[in-house]
C-alpha cells in the first residue's frame, strides 16, 4: 500500500473481486415540514454507481461533502437498505438480505468511523467496547475474551492494562485506535474507513495511517478509504474513485488520477490541494469552480457536473456520459465525460454557458 505502486494497482485489475457494486442507488425521502402533506421529493444520495473492489487493495473514495461517499459505503456495508441495484460481497449477493441475515456477515466487513468521540459509547469501558465483536458473534467468553481483547489492544498500540478505562480517558488518536481495534477484532476481510483521520491532528493522522498500512499487510485487509483530504488518499490508495453528486466521475490507479486527471471535476478538485510550500506562487492554473454543488434532490440533467463545468457543451446537459476509458487511457482508468481533459490542457475557470440550458449556472 505504499505510494506509487502501479504494478500492484495494475495487477489488481485482474485480481479477484471482493466487493462488486452494480447500478447502486440510494434515495432518501425528504422530511416534510408539513405534518399533513407527505413530500415526494427524494435526495439522490447515490445515483447509479458501478464499482469493483479487489481483494487486498485500498480503494480511495474522494469527493466533496455530501457527494454520497458515506452513503455508498453504508450501502455496501448494508447499514441502509438499497433503493436499487446490487451489492455482491465475496461472491454473495447481499443486496436484499435482512438485518438479521446480515449479522453473520458482519464478521467479515467492518467500519472505522470518522469521529473518535462519537463512535465510542461513553458509558462503556474500552474492554467491553472492543469485546463487543467477540460477544456478539459468540466467539469468546470471560477470561478468553479478555485475553483476546488485550491482544487486539496491543496490536493497535494501546496498553492492554487500560482495559477498564472509559473512552473519555483517552486522547483523540488513542480513541481512534480503539475504533481500529474494534473493527479489527474479528479479522474481517473488508474494512470501510469512513474518514478515519479527518478528525485528528496531522501528527496523529500519520500514526493512524501507518497503523492501518501495517495491519493491511499483516492481515491482507481490503480497505475502502473515504476521505476528502486528497493527499491522504494519495498516500494510502491503490486506486481512487472520484465522486460528484452521487456518481463516480473518474476511477483509476492512484497515480493516474493525480497525474493525468481526465474529468474536469477531478482537475478542479486536484488543483484545489494547497501546496505546502510558501515560496511557490499561487498556481495560476488553479481551476476555481463557480457556483455551488446543485441540490441532490433535483440533480441536473445529463452530466451532473455540466452547470459548473468550464468545458460543458450542449450535449452534456442531455447525455449522461458513461464511465469508460477515454483518450487512449488503459482499461483501468475510466472517466465519465464527453469532453475529457487532455494531458497538458489548461482548463478555464468559468463555467461554459450552454445555449438552451434554462437557468444560469450560478
Amino acid at each position: 500500500m505504499t505510494v506509487g505502486a502501479p504494478g500492484k494497482a495494475g495487477s489488481a485489475v485482474d485480481g479477484d473481486v471482493l466487493v462488486r457494486v452494480e447500478g447502486l442507488k440510494k434515495y432518501f425521502p425528504v422530511q416534510s415540514t408539513s405534518a399533513v402533506r407527505r413530500s415526494h421529493e427524494q435526495v439522490h444520495a447515490v445515483d447509479g454507481v458501478d464499482l469493483e473492489v479487489f481483494r487486498g487493495e485500498t480503494l480511495g473514495l474522494v469527493g466533496e461533502t455530501g457527494c454520497g461517499k458515506s452513503t455508498l459505503a453504508r450501502s455496501i456495508a448494508r447499514l441502509v437498505d438499497l433503493t436499487e441495484g446490487h451489492v455482491e460481497f465475496d461472491g454473495r449477493d447481499i443486496s436484499h438480505l435482512s438485518a438479521r441475515q446480515m449479522r453473520p456477515l458482519r464478521r467479515e466487513m467492518q467500519i472505522i468511523f470518522q469521529d473518535p468521540y462519537g463512535s465510542l459509547n461513553p458509558r462503556r469501558r474500552v474492554g467491553s467496547i472492543i469485546g463487543d465483536p467477540f460477544a456478539l458473534h459468540g466467539i469468546a467468553d470471560g477470561a478468553d475474551r479478555k485475553k483476546r481483547v488485550q491482544e487486539v489492544m496491543e496490536l493497535v498500540g494501546l496498553k492492554p492494562e487500560h482495559f477498564n478505562r472509559f473512552p473519555a480517558e483517552f486522547s483523540g488518536g488513542q480513541r481512534q485506535r480503539i475504533g481500529v481495534a474494534r473493527a479489527l477484532a474479528l479479522r474481517p476481510k473488508l474494512i470501510i474507513c469512513d474518514e478515519p483521520v479527518s478528525a485528528l491532528d496531522v501528527s496523529i493522522q500519520a500514526q493512524i495511517l501507518n497503523l492501518l498500512a501495517d495491519l493491511q499487510s499483516e492481515f491482507n485487509l481490503t480497505y475502502i478509504f473515504i476521505a476528502h483530504d486528497l493527499s491522504v488518499v494519495r498516500h494510502v490508495s491503490d486506486r481512487v474513485a472520484v465522486m460528484y453528486l452521487g456518481k463516480i466521475v473518474e476511477l483509476a490507479p492512484v497515480e493516474d488520477v493525480y497525474q493525468v486527471p481526465r474529468h474536469p471535476y477531478s482537475n478542479a478538485l486536484l488543483s484545489a490541494v494547497p501546496m505546502p510550500d510558501p515560496h511557490q506562487k499561487v498556481d495560476s492554473h488553479q481551476v476555481i469552480l463557480s457556483g455551488d454543488v446543485p441540490s441532490p434532490i433535483n440533480p441536473p440533467s445529463g452530466c451532473r457536473f455540466h452547470p459548473r463545468c468550464p468545458k460543458a457543451q450542449a450535449k452534456c446537459s442531455i447525455d449522461d456520459p458513461a464511465l469508460v476509458p477515454v483518450l487512449g487511457d488503459p482499461p483501468a482508468h475510466v472517466t465519465a465525460c464527453h469532453f475529457p481533459v487532455a494531458t497538458g490542457e489548461v482548463m478555464e475557470s468559468r463555467p461554459a454557458v450552454i445555449a438552451g440550458d434554462g437557468a444560469p449556472a450560478t
Binding site: 456495508a77 447499514l79 438485518a99 438479521r100 446480515m102 449479522r103 453473520p104 458482519r106 464478521r107 467492518q110 467500519i111 468511523f113 470518522q114 469521529d115 462519537g118 463512535s119 465510542l120 459509547n121 461513553p122 458509558r123 462503556r124 469501558r125 474500552v126 463487543d132 465483536p133 456478539l136 458473534h137 485475553k147 488485550q150 491482544e151 496491543e154 496490536l155 493497535v156 498500540g157 494501546l158 496498553k159 492492554p160 492494562e161 487500560h162 482495559f163 477498564n164 478505562r165 472509559f166 480517558e169 486522547s171 488518536g173 488513542q174 475504533g179 474494534r182 501528527s203 496523529i204 500514526q207 501507518n210 497503523l211 501495517d214 499483516e218
Partner: protein, 324 residues
Amino acid sequence: MSMSPSDSVAIEDALVASGVPPPEGAAASVIEGRSPWRLAYERLRRDRASLIALAVVVVIILVAIFAPVIASLTGHGVYQQFRDTGLTPDGLPVGPNHQFLLGTDDQGRDILVRIAYGARISLIVGVVATAAEVVLGTVLGLAAGYFGKVVDTVIARIIDIVLSIPFLLFAISLVSISHPSLTIVIVVIAIFGWAAVARVVRGQVLSLREKEYIEAARALGAGPWRIMFIDILPNIVAPIIVYATLLIPVTIVIEASLSYLGVGVPPPTADWGTMISGAQQIYQQAWWYLLFPSLALLITTVAFNIFGDGLRDALDPRAEQLYK
C-alpha cells in the same frame, strides 16, 4: 501511551509480539477507569443542600420503617382511641402535650403515631407507583424512539392521549367504581404517570440513536434489543433516575390528594391525605391536627425535590434545561 513519532516502531514491535502478552503487561496492576457514576458521586458529595435533603429522606424512610417502634415508645397504637385523655370533655382533640407530643385527632388518636404510619403509605405508593411508571415508560419510550415509524406513531399518540386526560377526574371515577384500596391507588397512578417518563425517554433515544456508536454497534451485528438495552439504556439511566427521584414527591402528593378526596386508601388506615381532610372540619379548634400532617407532606416532597435537583446536577451537569 506515548504519542511520539517512534510510535510506528512500537506498533511493529507489537505486531511481532502479538499473541504473546508481554510479562510486564500481565503483571501490571489493573488500571480502573473512573466511571461516570463515580464522578457523579464525587460531585454529589460536594453538594451540601442535597446531602441534607438526602438525610431528611433517610430519616423519613427510617420513621416509616420503625413506625411500630414509635408506637410502642409512646404506648399508643395507631388505631387506638383515647376517649379519656385524648379528647376534651367537649369531645374535641387535645393539643400537643407531654403525653401526645403532636396532639390528637378528632377520634382521640395520637397524631405522631399516625403520621409515622402515614409515612409508610406515602413511601410505598411513591416508590412502587414511580417504579412501575419508570419501567413502563422506559420500555415504551425506548421502543418508540428506537424503532420509529409505526411503533413510534402508535406509542407517541397513546402518550399524547394519556397526557391529555384530566388525571384527577379520571382517577376519582376509576377508583370510585372499584373498591378503594392501596393496590388500586398504585395502579391508577402508574397508568397515568408512565406517559411523561416515556416522553422523556423517547426524546433522549431519538437523539442517541443517531450517534455513531449506535451505527458502530449495528455494523458489528448487534440486534435491536441489544442496542436498546446495552448501548442506549446506560446513556439514559442518569436522566431516568433523576426523573424518577422528582416523580416520587409528585406521586406522594397525588396519593395524598386522592385520599383527601376520599378515594384513596380507605380509613381507618393512617394516611396523610385522610388526616388533612379530617382536620379541615375542626382546624379552628385544633390547628395541630391540620399543621403536622401537612408539614410531614411538605417536608417529604421538598426533601425529595431538592435531592432530585442535586442528583440531576451531579449526574448530568449539562442537561439542566431538560426537566424545567
